[in-house]
């Protein structure tokens, strides 16, 4: 090979090396003199390499939205709403004799049987005016109307519910102040699984409680005599039921109620609740949590356990609430949180846009509650399937042992290569060190995250790089032994070993790509990424770079009669 060709190859190698060094150790801005100090390099290195949670510390949570519960609740609510829509009518044909609901094992349907089956379409119309049943399949038989949720519609609802849950979780953790969280679906979108990673959080208990907190706020009318009579309460569910004639109709609900003032009067702590009473409320609610615009924790006295939550409505909710309160002055209204009446008060005058949840809350509970109210209600309960936390010190230990293992292995390899292959061992060492540098640079370039399994992939990549060098050198030795001269032996050695190297590399790259695609978001992926990068780069370092060094040697010492290998 002539000198010009060699210079071009050397230029390419130097340029790539410089880019690699800059990617790994340089800043992503105009360099200053500080970047050339030891401290500056260390800072840049830490900024450039995106460490995974297992190395820098943080929480990794896999949760599942209980989508079956979500669809079940939706079915039950729609069934109830449909029945009350029919019962609200004064038409004598609109008389429900029976209604059933199926909500399990992927089947979601409800049906309503009427006393008079002659005008079912009018009944169905009346129901659909009040209840959104667009995605439900309607069918009639005899005097019964059925609504069923098909599999496709179920999936659409599931996907919607998961993305809604994600939005809510995101707003909850953002308000809480978690830095750079990642939130993504895990597995198929209909599985309901969500992965949340929070760097730097090593005790996720409060965040978990915040995410999972339920906050179904509803303002409901209490069935009671109007003020000045006190609000009508019942000592037990049965007593409340009896007042309704033994059964609870679709447009009524019995909810537990703890009187805050009695609690205060008895001087009890919030933990020891006074006996629970029950009230009967009208269903559905006047307004619910989805109409909230803002919620805040406030304390009038400033005392630790004396916080309330005030809230404001959106314009649409405020209009509804204003209309309703205007018509119901002196009636009793319940502030219901998660199916429990927090306070019952009579309406003094028309109220439009704000309200209050009173109760003896502590500052933290009040703040967290306000936060969850503001972010809206989760579509369904969330369960945790996986929780992994790594403290910063444990992460630092993992980095240290990972780096020590890699460097120790590399050191061992370098010593052996120099001992076994003598002068040519230098080629191998240059190729190996360059391989490691460029692999890390490529990780930086594609903004991939380095994890512990990623370090394992890096080590396997180094192993394959050593193997490539060994293959080439052994082959050159064989050709020399077969009686070829030095330049021919080097040529043949590289050419023949290259076929083997290509085959081994492509095989491993193919299986790594498949691992990457099939391995999900888990640790397998980190392993596959670094391995693929390491192998691609090795084709450059072990073959191109090492060959260039050999060619320089031949070019500078044309009369060489013994190759140090």
């Amino acid at each position: 090979m002539n000198r010009t060709g060699l210079w071009i190859r050397t230029g390419v190698i130097l340029a790539i090396t410089l880019v690699g060094v800059y990617m790994v150790f340089g800043p992503r801005r105009m360099p200053t003199s500080a970047d050339f100090t030891w401290e500056g390099i260390k800072t840049n290195l830490a900024e450039n390499i995106n460490l995974g949670l297992d190395l820098k510390g943080g929480s990794h949570l896999v949760m599942r939205v209980k989508l079956d519960d979500y669809l079940k609740t939706m079915t039950e609510n729609n069934a109830q709403a449909a029945v009350s829509a029919i019962q609200d009518s004064t038409d004598p044909k609109f008389q429900v004799t029976n209604n059933t609901t199926v909500a399990e094992n992927g089947n979601y349907s409800f049906n309503v049987t009427l006393a008079d089956g002659t005008d079912l379409s009018a009944v169905a119309e009346a129901v659909k005016k009040k209840v959104d049943l667009q995605t439900w399949n309607e069918s009639t038989s005899g005097s019964t109307i059925s609504w069923t949720l098909g599999a496709a519609a179920q999936n659409v609802l599931k996907v919607d519910a998961v993305s809604q849950a994600k939005k809510i979780i995101e707003s909850r953790i953002n308000t809480y102040g978690v830095k750079e969280p990642t939130l993504q679906n895990q597995g198929s979108p209909t599985s309901g699984q969500i992965l949340l990673q929070m760097p730097g959080v090593d005790d996720p208990e409060r965040v978990k409680a915040l995410i999972g907190a339920e906050s179904n706020l509803a303002l409901m009318k209490i069935v009671s005599a109007a003020n000045p009579a006190p609000v009508t309460t019942y000592p037990s569910i049965d007593a409340a039921k009896a007042s309704l004639g033994g059964t609870v109709p679709a447009n009524r609900k019995i909810l537990p109620y703890t009187d805050r003032d009695e609690q205060a009067a008895a001087g009890q702590t919030p933990d020891q609740k006074p006996p629970t009473k029950y009230v009967v409320v009208e269903y559905p609610a006047v307004v619910d949590g989805s109409e909230l615009r803002n919620a805040e924790a406030v304390s009038r006295t400033g005392a630790q356990g004396d916080y309330q939550i005030t809230f404001q409505f959106k314009p649409s909710g405020a209009q509804k609430f204003g209309d309703w309160t205007g018509k119901n002055i002196n009636n009793y209204m319940a502030v219901v949180l998660n199916d429990e009446v927090k306070s019952a008060a009579f309406i003094k005058s028309q109220i439009f846009d704000s309200g209050e949840i009173s109760g003896k809350f502590t500052k933290t509970t009040a703040e967290d509650l306000a936060l969850t109210l503001k972010s809206g209600a989760l579509p369904a309960k969330i369960v945790y399937q996986e929780e992994r936390t790594v403290g910063p010190s444990l992460g630092a230990d993992s980095i240290r042992s990972g780096v020590e293992a890699s460097l120790g292995g590399l050191g061992l390899v370098i010593v052996f290569m120099l001992f076994y292959y003598r002068g040519s061992g230098v080629n191998a060492v240059v190729a190996l060190v360059l391989n490691m540098l460029l692999t890390v640079a490529a990780l930086v370039l594609i903004r991939s995250t380095l994890t512990l399994p990623g370090i394992a992939g890096l080590i396997l990549g180094i192993g394959m790089a050593v193997d490539s060098n060994v293959l080439i050198f052994e082959r050159i030795r064989e050709e020399l032994k077969a009686g070829f001269d030095i330049p021919t032996s080097i040529d043949l050695g590289f050419d023949r070993a290259f076929v083997t190297i290509i085959d081994t590399h492509i095989t491993t790259i193919i299986s790594s790509v498949i691992l990457y695609m099939a391995g999900g978001a888990g640790p397998i992926r980190g392993f596959a990424v670094t391995l693929i990068l390491g192998l691609l780069i090795n084709l450059f370092t072990a073959v191109f770079v090492s060959r260039t060094i050999f060619n320089w040697e031949l070019s500078l010492r044309p009369k060489m009669n013994r190759l140090s290998i």
Binding site: V383, V413, F419, L515
Partner: protein
């Protein structure tokens, strides 16, 4: 020039029965261990599954002065945590506390998901309340150094529900199998189906052998073992290809030799490379086994066993199978063409156009 492998000749394929016999013996031992343990009532499971795959909790705690294992165990038992496993790490002041899911809970599906979930949520808190016996915990940003009145700090938790555990396991197994299919197709394309089969069977052999060791010695199977197995698969296929490549290269040059001899020579010619590469890698792994500590124990053990076997299986399993299959393709009347007595003339093993490696198989 240092070369201990010059003129090294060893008839590997003639001893194939011994090699295959050893492999089968170990696999049977593994099978007996796995099935035997499964069938023994009240005994251990086939595999010692870690919390990653079975569900459960691992809490890593750092103590100012580490209590004894027995003290920690009795504190946990008092707090109602049943059956904890206490392990030391390579740090004197750190301890791993493992709480497996209970057998009865994993048995039933459906409603029990709630229990597992609760366990995921409760794991850390339960252990914390137990450890509070030894003194206050450093919480949040506080460290043992910054808060002198504290006694310990929880520095890591791994809590996995049974559902997530089985998902992780299935995902890893499926990904590995798909990866093997990719390897099979590529080798078949570049070499021949017989070679692809040899390489992939050798990989299965390695994985099954590693699993046998894990069952027999009850080493813990966790996520890091999957990473190790992926590495083993990579190296095993790599070794097979190096030899196959040499066979492919030798075949056109030695028209009159049998594939049997060519393969034997190819193994010997590449032996120096095999020994150097495997030796270097195994040496690094050995360092990991010795110095890597408890956390990496399963990973490094799997690598050590698997890489050693991967190197051996290429010679002892992949090559004989490839040749055996070629002989079957060649002439079905010859029952055992590999037997040294049946020396016959040239018989084309296959008329495949692509295959340069299908050659008369004699001996």
């Amino acid at each position: 020039m240092l070369n201990p492998f010059d003129n090294f000749h060893f008839d590997w394929l003639r001893r194939r029965r011994i090699f295959i016999g050893i492999s089968i013996a170990i696999m049977i031992a593994g099978l007996v261990s796995a099935v035997g343990r499964e069938l023994t009532p009240g005994g251990t499971d086939s595999f010692n599954m870690g919390v990653d795959f079975q569900g459960g909790t691992i809490v890593t705690a750092k103590f100012r002065s580490r209590p004894s294992d027995d003290d920690i165990r009795s504190a946990l038992n008092e707090a109602g945590v049943g059956d904890p496993v206490i392990q030391s790490t390579n740090k004197p002041d750190e301890v791993l506390i493992k709480i497996p899911l209970l057998e009865s809970e994993t048995a039933s599906e459906g409603t029990s998901e709630q229990d597992h979930t609760l366990q995921v949520q409760a794991g850390r808190e339960e252990v914390k309340s137990a450890l509070d016996k030894f003194g206050k915990a450093a919480e949040g940003d506080a460290t043992l150094e910054s808060a002198p009145d504290t006694a310990y700090k929880i520095i890591g938790t791994d809590s996995v529900g049974a559902v997530a555990g089985s998902q992780l396991r299935n995902q890893a197994v499926i990904a590995t199998l798909l990866g093997l299919v990719g390897i099979l197709v590529f080798i078949a394309f570049r070499y021949d189906w017989t070679y692809a089969a040899g390489a992939v069977i050798a990989v299965f052999h390695d994985v099954i052998m590693v699993l046998s060791f894990f069952s027999i010695f009850q080493w813990e199977v966790n996520l890091t073992v999957i990473a190790a197995i992926l590495t083993i698969v990579g190296f095993s296929v790599n070794d097979s290809i190096v030899i196959f490549d040499r066979v492919r290269e030798n075949v056109p040059m030695r028209r009159h030799d049998s594939l049997f001899d060519i393969t034997n020579d190819s193994i010997n010619q590449t032996l120096s490379r095999t020994v150097i590469t495997a030796g270097l890698v195994i040496l690094s792994v050995l360092a990991l086994v010795i110095f890597g500590g408890e956390v990496l124990r399963s990973f490094s053990l799997a690598l050590l066993v698997g890489l050693t076997l991967g190197c051996y299986s290429t010679i002892a399993i992949a090559s004989p199978i490839a040749i055996w299959w070629q002989s079957k393709l060649g002439d079905s009347k010859i029952k055992d063409v590999l037997a040294p007595s049946t020396t016959k003339g040239e018989k084309l093993a296959s008329s495949s156009r692509r295959s340069v490696t299908r050659r008369p198989v004699t001996r």
